[in-house]
Amino acid sequence: MPSQSQPTGERRPRGMVIDRAWRELGPGLEPLSGPGGAPLTRTVKLILLPLVVRPALRPELAADFLDAGEAGRLGELIRECGARLEATARWFTLLKRTRRALGVVAGNPQDLYFQRCFEMATEHGAPAAGADAVARAVLEDIADAAGGRTVEALKDHLADTARRSRLDAELAAAWGDRRTAPAQDAVAGVALAAEVLEACGPPAPGKGAPAFTAMVEGGHGSLLGRALWARASGVWGRDDLPAHLGLTVHQVPPRPAVGRSASTATLSAPFDRTLFERLFTVLQSSAHREELPAVPELVRREAGRSCAPLGLYDESLRVAVVLGGRLAVGLDPLGGQDSGAGRAGLTAAHRAVNSRWQREASVLRARRMTVSPGPAPDPDGGVLDALAQDLRTPWAAYMRRLWVRLHGRDVRDAPLDDTASAWAVLDGVARSVMMDHRARVRSALRTLAAAPARASEASSA
């Protein structure tokens, strides 16, 4: 590779050090390399960093820039692993071939197999006689990792009438035992949330913010949940927004039903979902199903959870709903709307997310994927105007997304430890809402461009 500009001091980008060391390993690594010979992004993220470089053991190699000694050490680690990496590449090729032969298409093979291939290379070396059988066994093992935690299993479990009526009675009892709280208790939490959000965002998200811990200890998430049951209002400092921020279509969350079917297209608002629908969304996302409790336990716990404040057990996750709500009411995806967002008071977190929205808007303009940004609906706008409407009320989509993510964590027993991890979730949800929007604009425009000779009357609407 041409060395263009001379090194800046002795420190070099770690990515470049890895790239050079990788290329020096020579042939045999093509299955783990990109078209230009660089290691695949996933090779770096799933094999080289966690299994070869292991920055957890060598913190000096965790930095983005390395000095000459560190760079040398990193190169050495990769060189030492050359034979094992080549064997990893051959196992990967074998697994891909076997997968095709078995007709498996679900999932990204790099995500699914990279780590296993490295383990097999460590254990067996390169594939030898009998490797086909090993590959088959590994594929079956990975496919079975869900261990019966599937929507199908949930359906079977809830098909039993006696079990359903038992669950229904449990729900009725738990729902009857709820305690409510007055709205002002929730208002206090919202004020604290602004403090936490001010500590979020760059440059050092979550540094020195004891307010999050204080909110968890003060049970401010539960207080919001209990206030919602009591038909609270004026919680968010804006009279135009319901206290539940669209988490239910009713004024007060209704008692959850058991349910026995669901479809992604017709999911109700989170608090209005049946037990079945709540678990359906968890079982549908294929990631790490092996970490979930088995289906009967999943159902048993969901019955209690669905009657808990905000439909969540863990207090840190409930507090994240308060944070998310406080953030959501100040979101401004259309730019300069001042739709009360200013009145509610903007924090560092708002500035970070809103500037991200503006960047997204400018990309969408350059990609010719706009929706009319006006503050009022366009009666001729059709499906695109519906998408614009979602941007005018961004808190609804944001809260739905956030709740589903928090619920997923609750089911997996993954609380939020501090402001930084809460911010990572809040920020990630903002990105997902943006990506959802873009995907929906794309699909609306595609439908339009491919429209057959129908619905031309719509133009007169």
């Binding site: 041409p2 263009q4 500009s5 980008p13 770690r14 990515g15 790239d19 990109g34 078209p35 230009g36 660089a38 695949l40 992004t41 996933r42 770096v44 820039f65 891909k96 997968r99 095709r100 007709g103 298409v105 990204n108 965002g201 760059p202 440059p203 500035r351 500037s355 991200r356 960047r359 400018s362 303009r365 350059a366 990609r367 010719r368 994927m369 706009t370 929706v371 009319s372 366009d378 001729d380 706008g381 059709g382 499906v383 695109l384 998408l387 614009a388 990105r431 997902s432 990506m435 425009l445 339009l448 461009a449 491919a450 429209a451 057959p452 000779a453 619905a455 719509a458 133009s459 007169s460």
Partner: protein, 431 residues
């Protein structure tokens, strides 16, 4: 790529680190790419240069910065992110990844803004051929994307292959008919092998992909020359120039051409020519009517797109006139209502048929719900520059007996023609 010119690295109050300044040019002349931790922007009308980068996550961006902008810029971004001194100019030096990224961004731009026009003689680019080449380029640029978050819509190899796989078999046919050693032959071969590798990496499978794989395994000798026009022809569902306008009757008061603002409707609906929008105002008895005609894009759907014309008289309130598809035109007809509160005098003059001061009529075309508002007054100049760029690229893509495409390194060069451009240039005569 030019070498060692300086590029500025700055940090905004909200923590965003910028490499280079945001180009001040209309949205339709900007090629953009969402990559790990940043958005990259290239002005398509300028000379090739490293992209401006708006970096919202400097840590994630370190994965590609050293390869796109060089390690000095990478180090400067690292320093700025940590709060180092601001506004430093840094020498950049780029690797092959920079060229690939520019080409990928330009391809995405062409998919949205290519100024296809019958009147201007600029043929459309076959979307599936372009889409597959974009998939190949995305795979080639895999270092730009990371796997940590689901927020890089341009990291979409599998989706692109899925959506555009209808072109796989035609591309294979083209590849079989093209001698390997020529520029186009190598170009086709490169794209198809990248697609095969990308599909394999992503674990995709299907009949067309299997045909691709087995074809690539053993290359047959080049077959008989191929009619590219027939290979990529899209059925037209209307006859060109079929008759005149509907008999509106009446006396023509005024006519003129409207504003064809590309920003206000999505691609594929309206011919990109500057004069594609025209209007005629007539007096029919006591009524005043306006008739709007908009030349349709050759690929536009016959129905389903509720385009409207926006009519404004004497700077008054804008009225919408629904457009319907008739042959190669979108047409609409409406009573010309002059707002009582805007200009009564003009109204009266028109009523009396005294066009001492003919009404000033402005007509635009837009898609409701999509329209982000009108562009800047100077956009027409940029639109002309985009047409010139398209013509120049088509000329460079035109088949030549010497097959000059091999003077480009077809994948790394920012400016080498896309396969869709080569196909379009080859069929231009039929167009």
């Amino acid at each position: 790529m030019p070498q060692a010119a300086g590029i500025e690295v700055t940090r905004d109050a909200d923590g965003t680190v910028r490499v280079g300044g945001e180009p001040a040019c209309p949205a339709f002349t900007r090629a953009v790419l969402d990559v790990a931790g940043a958005v990259l922007t290239w002005p398509v009308l300028d000379e090739p240069a490293p992209p401006a980068a708006e970096i919202h996550d400097p840590e994630r961006a370190q994965q590609w910065l050293w390869a796109v902008h060089g390690e000095r810029v990478a180090a400067a971004v690292h320093d700025r992110a940590a709060g180092g001194p601001d506004g430093v100019r840094v020498a950049y030096g780029a690797t092959a990844l920079a060229g690939g990224a520019a080409r990928l961004a330009l391809g995405h731009w062409a998919a949205r803004w290519w100024p296809a026009s019958y009147a201007d003689g600029i043929p459309a680019l076959e979307p599936d051929v372009l889409g597959l080449e974009l998939a190949a380029l995305t795979h080639q640029c895999q270092q730009l994307f990371d796997t940590a978050f689901d927020d890089q819509p341009d990291d979409c190899v599998a989706e692109l292959i899925e959506e555009h796989q209808a072109a796989l078999d035609p591309l294979l046919q083209w590849w079989r008919a093209t001698p390997g050693p020529t520029g186009t032959g190598r170009h086709l071969d490169g794209v198809l092998r990248l697609l095969d590798d990308a599909a394999d990496s992503a674990g995709m499978d299907g009949p067309a992909l299997r045909r691709l794989r087995s074809a690539l395994d053993r290359r047959p000798p080049a077959g008989a020359p191929l009619d590219l026009g027939a290979l990529f022809a899209r059925p037209r569902d209307y006859a060109l120039a079929a008759g005149g306008p509907p008999a509106a009757g009446g006396r023509v008061i005024a006519r003129g051409s409207g504003n064809n603002d590309w920003l206000r409707y999505p691609p594929g609906l309206v011919d990109a020519a500057e004069d594609a929008v025209s209007w005629t105002a007539r007096a029919v008895g006591a009524r005043r009517r306006i008739e709007v005609e908009v030349v349709a894009d050759a690929a536009a759907p016959v129905a389903g797109a509720p385009l409207v014309a926006e009519v404004r008289v004497n700077g008054g309130r804008a009225h919408r006139v629904p457009l319907a598809r008739r042959d190669d035109l979108w047409t609409g007809l409406a009573d010309l209502r002059l707002d009582a509160d805007t200009d009564l005098d003009a109204d009266r003059e028109l009523e009396r048929g005294l066009p001492a001061m003919p009404p000033r009529i402005e007509v635009g075309v837009l898609l409701p719900g999509f329209d982000p508002g009108t562009g800047a007054p100077g956009d027409a100049v940029h639109r002309d520059a985009v047409r010139a760029l398209a013509r120049q690229r088509l000329a460079a893509a035109r088949p030549s007996p010497y097959d000059t495409h091999d003077i480009h390194d077809a994948y790394d060069s920012h400016s080498g023609p896309f396969l869709a451009e080569i196909a379009a240039a080859a069929t231009e005569e039929d167009f």
